[in-house]
């Protein structure tokens, strides 16, 4: 299983762009990169997923370089409600795939 490495924590202010980078040096050819968000006392929530280059949805953007050994989750203009733990996951696709979570990045957004 591809192991991921993320910063333990990050701080930001409202209105700023936040970039969280995840390292996954052993990513396999058929692995995708998926990010989840978790608020306190709630289950994780899917944010975005990608294979290569750039993916954007209404919540975030995901940048993946050509070698795919890292990825960056970009949150535009964060608000207080974006304070959460963000997990980077790497693995093959499929509704029956067990998800492997690391320790995540704890993002604290200040007013």
């Amino acid at each position: 299983l591809a192991k991921t490495t993320q910063p333990i924590s990050m701080d930001s202010y409202e209105g700023q762009e936040v970039n969280i980078t995840c390292s996954h040096n052993n990513i396999a050819t058929n692995d995708y990169i998926t990010w989840y968000q978790q608020f306190p006392s709630q289950g994780p929530r899917f944010i975005i997923q990608g294979y290569k280059t750039k993916v954007t949805n209404e919540v975030a953007s995901l940048f993946i370089p050509a070698d795919r050994k890292s990825s960056t989750l970009s949150l535009p203009r964060v608000s207080l409600s974006d304070t959460a733990v963000y997990y980077c996951l790497v693995g093959a696709l499929g509704g029956r795939r067990a998800l492997t979570f690391g320790s995540g990045t704890r993002l604290q957004v200040q007013p």
Partner: protein, 116 residues
């Protein structure tokens, strides 16, 4: 659609006791996975049920067992509770046949288990 629901919300047990946690998947989903999340850690995969059978299992002892019913709901049972079993237990549902484009599982709010 109520999404994934879990019961109870909180539970307090003592060492050696047994506990049963329940999960109802999101409408249209047939696969249920269970995760254990210790304080300050990411969720750890326990096992997954599909077609009423355990299909995958993580690195958890046999004290952890489960069941899936014909309506796709699921139970997690833990026997001989240890202090270290105190955690948030999360249920996640997905659709086995679809979701080939995503690694998206829908999580419930979890059951907070405290073992004293």
């Amino acid at each position: 659609d109520a999404g994934v629901t879990q019961s109870p919300t909180h539970l307090i047990k003592t060492r050696g006791q047994q506990v049963t946690l329940r999960c109802s998947p999101k409408s249209g989903h047939d696969t249920v996975s269970w995760y254990q999340q210790a304080l300050g850690q990411g969720p750890q995969f326990i096992f997954q049920y599909y077609e009423e059978e355990e299909r995958q299992r993580g690195n958890f002892p046999d004290r952890f067992s489960g069941h899936q019913f014909p309506n796709y709901s699921s139970e997690l049972n833990v026997n001989a509770l240890l202090l270290g079993d105190s955690a948030l237990y999360l249920c996640a549902s997905s659709h086995s046949g679809g979701s080939l484009s995503y690694n998206e599982q829908f999580f419930g709010p979890g059951t907070r288990l405290t073992v004293l």
